[in-house]
């Protein structure tokens, strides 16, 4: 059996006839396309039906039988909500029996002597198709781009396959094209599509060599295939052959395998596990294949725990907003100009959890939006408190996740937020990662342009890591570029890194936007950035992210500085 679809999985048909010859003959006709079980009277039939009710696709039922006749069977099925869904074709030579059979729920008839096998098979097939609504399924089960299954139907077929072959050892395999967005950006979307189709074709060839099925969504392919002891060898060969087309690029095809799946785990989870293995390769360029193992299982359990604890932690205030100051370095002395709000999780069981651990996790399941809203609320209230306490405005920047961009109430939420706290839109700065821009530039440009028109200040976060084209950058509605910290890291040690940052500064100048450098840790880095006319600096050199009670000391210092400056100016003027 090759690339399995709903048509290919052998369905189970029950043949009920008291005559051995009739049973055998009918079974012989349909056996090639169906799995067949038999019963020689109504009583036996009902026993078989109960036993196989979840699998049974059709019953071929004789009417006149000893012990219990077919009418009684039909009546019993009709009276049972669950069993009445199994279609029944009545086997009869009696015209008079047909009306009664229809009344009792039969869907069709096969007359005796039997018609030619083709006719019988067509009737059997049609009855099953009608029953399963397979015409509708056919129209929506295939991915248009590749001809593979769509994800929803793929899951259904996996479940059905398991029902028929419960003892078969199966592997859940996930293939992912890393950086497909980059391919689309550099080579055009048509080329990206071509790559997806090529991979799909190669997967079909792979499926021809084994038993299984596959689906595609976005840049990911799932395969549910019969386990083979040399599966690593087969998949590695597949990856190696395919990855040759990605030569000299940062894109590649990677594969995660959940080997010999645990069939007690639901089918979605089996593929999430394969995907976990796949995602574990993100920063590992030594191999393109990874297996779901005990370590990943432990990680999965930990992550599940975190996800389920989010709401309680929000209620119990285990999430805290820290603030990292940003200093303006354009003047003689660095001056506190603003801050970035960063979430921290003081988990009651696991202690302080790095946002690097829980944010990607929350991004996967959409919970990040809940956290973002929490941070926005806290940050706005904090700006208000500082103003009330020190008569100073320290604007705070907050992160916008990809999912937030799709929220139709985003703008209203921010307007309400500033209104409720008596702030102006300029007091809240919004950070959007560069990769979000490249993922869906049209949508994001529209949203961000509208926010800017209302007065919000937009910073492009992680600039340099999202592969924007210069052409695209010139069209983006932004007020500042935040240089990714990995570019800053080596500027004092490495000429190349320094030139790279110089280049980015030139881009910012060309775009007429200010520059914020993140991850500045040393005085030397700070000096170099100042020489390059960088406007604002954020990093451990000035301060790590700190809680509000510590941040207020920085504000107090700034207030003193302003006071003394004011005095100096007053002294000079007098």
């Amino acid at each position: 059996m090759n690339n399995l679809s709903s048509q290919d999985i052998k369905r189970l048909v029950l043949v009920v006839d008291d005559e051995f010859v009739n049973r055998e003959m009918l079974g012989f006709i349909i056996r090639r396309d169906y799995n067949v079980i038999y019963a020689k009277n109504g009583k036996e039939a009902l026993e078989q039906i109960q036993k196989h009710k979840n699998l049974l696709s059709l019953i071929l039922l004789d009417l006149l039988m000893p012990v219990m006749d077919g009418f009684k069977v039909l009546q019993t099925l009709k009276d049972d909500n669950e069993l009445s869904k199994i279609p029944v074709i009545v086997l009869t030579s009696e015209k008079s029996a047909e009306i009664e059979s229809l009344r009792l729920g039969a869907v069709d008839f096969i007359t005796k002597p039997y018609d030619m096998p083709e006719v019988i098979l067509a009737r059997v097939r049609r009855s099953i198709e009608l029953s399963e609504g397979s015409k509708m399924i056919q129209n929506t089960s295939k991915d248009e781009l590749t001809g593979l299954l769509t994800k929803d139907f793929f899951y259904q077929f996996c479940e059905r396959y398991d029902k028929y072959y419960p003892d078969e050892k199966m592997d859940a395999v996930a293939f992912n094209i890393n950086n497909l967005g980059l391919i689309n950006e550099i080579n055009g979307r048509a080329y990206g599509t071509e790559i997806i189709q090529k991979i799909a074709e190669a997967i079909k060839v792979l499926l021809n060599m084994t038993v299984g099925m596959a689906c595609r969504f976005s840049d990911t392919f799932y395969l549910y295939i019969e386990h083979k002891d040399n599966c690593e060898e087969i998949l590695t060969k597949f990856l190696n052959e395919f990855n040759s087309i990605f030569k000299n690029s940062r894109s590649r095809l990677v594969c995660g395998v959940n080997p010999i799946v645990d069939k007690k785990v639901d089918v979605y989870r089996r593929f999430e596990r394969a995907m976990m293995a796949c995602n574990s390769l993100k920063n590992n360029y030594n191999t393109n294949i990874s297996f779901y193992d005990a370590e990943l299982h432990k990680k999965e359990l930990f992550e599940n725990c975190l996800v389920s604890d989010v709401e309680t932690s929000l209620t119990n205030k285990n999430f805290i907003v820290y603030y990292q100051p940003k200093y303006n370095i354009t003047g003689l002395r660095p001056r506190l100009s603003s801050a970035e709000a960063l979430i921290r999780w003081k988990h009651p069981e696991f202690g302080m959890i790095s946002p690097g651990v829980f944010i990607p996790l929350m991004e996967e399941n959409g919970l990040v939006s809940r956290l973002d809203h929490f941070v926005w609320q806290e940050a706005a209230a904090q700006v208000r408190r500082w103003r009330d306490q020190y008569n100073i405005t320290i604007p705070v920047s907050v992160n916008l996740s990809r999912i937030d961009i799709y929220d139709p109430n985003l703008e209203n939420n921010f307007l309400k937020l500033v209104r409720d706290n008596g702030l102006k839109p300029t007091d809240i700065m919004l950070e959007v990662t560069e990769s979000a821009y490249t993922d869906n530039s049209d949508q994001i440009i529209q949203v961000v342009e509208s926010l800017r028109s209302k007065g919000f200040f937009i910073e492009m976060d992680d600039f340099g890591s999202g592969y924007s084209s210069l052409n695209m950058l010139s069209e983006l509605p932004i007020d500042a570029l935040k240089l990714d910290m990995k570019f800053i890291k080596n500027i004092a040690k490495n000429e190349k890194a320094l030139h790279m940052v110089e280049l980015m500064m030139e881009i910012a100048e060309f775009l007429k936007v200010s520059v914020v450098a993140e991850g500045v840790e040393t005085e030397e880095q700070c000096k170099l950035l100042k020489q390059m006319k960088c406007d604002v600096i954020q990093g451990f050199y000035f301060s790590k992210p700190i809680p509000p009670e510590e941040f207020k000391l920085l504000i107090e210092k700034e207030v003193k500085l302003r006071d003394s400056e004011a005095k100096e100016i007053g002294y000079v003027n007098s």
Partner: protein
């Protein structure tokens, strides 16, 4: 030994019978042998001796289905005849009809 050709010669619609067995001769001939030895032939004689026409109809009807599927035409015709009389629950002497069935059946059995 009963063959498909022989059956054809004896008036059977073997194309139909064989077709129902996906043209698998061996399978078909096995079923024919089973059909000819069906215990319902003896049962039919038995129930008609007690004049149980209802039961007689059930048995004859079952035989008609089997022999019809196997396309043993001369025997099928004889069984159909008695089935129709029994369907109408006619109080007639069924011996001649039974004899006709026996005569036809014996011809085939002799070939086995």
């Amino acid at each position: 030994m009963l063959t498909v050709d022989k059956m054809k010669e004896m008036g059977c619609n073997t194309a139909e019978g064989l077709g129902r067995c996906l043209n698998n001769e061996m399978f078909y001939l096995n079923l024919v042998q089973m059909g000819l030895k069906d215990e319902n032939f003896a049962k039919l004689e038995e129930v008609l001796k007690t004049n149980d026409l209802e039961k007689g109809f059930e048995v004859a009807h079952g035989l008609k289905g089997v022999i019809g599927n196997l396309a043993i035409t001369p025997l099928y015709n004889a069984i159909s005849e008695i089935t129709e009389e029994l369907r109408a629950r006619k109080q007639i002497d069924y011996a001649p009809l039974l004899a006709k069935i026996k005569e036809n059946r014996d011809k085939f059995l002799a070939e086995l």
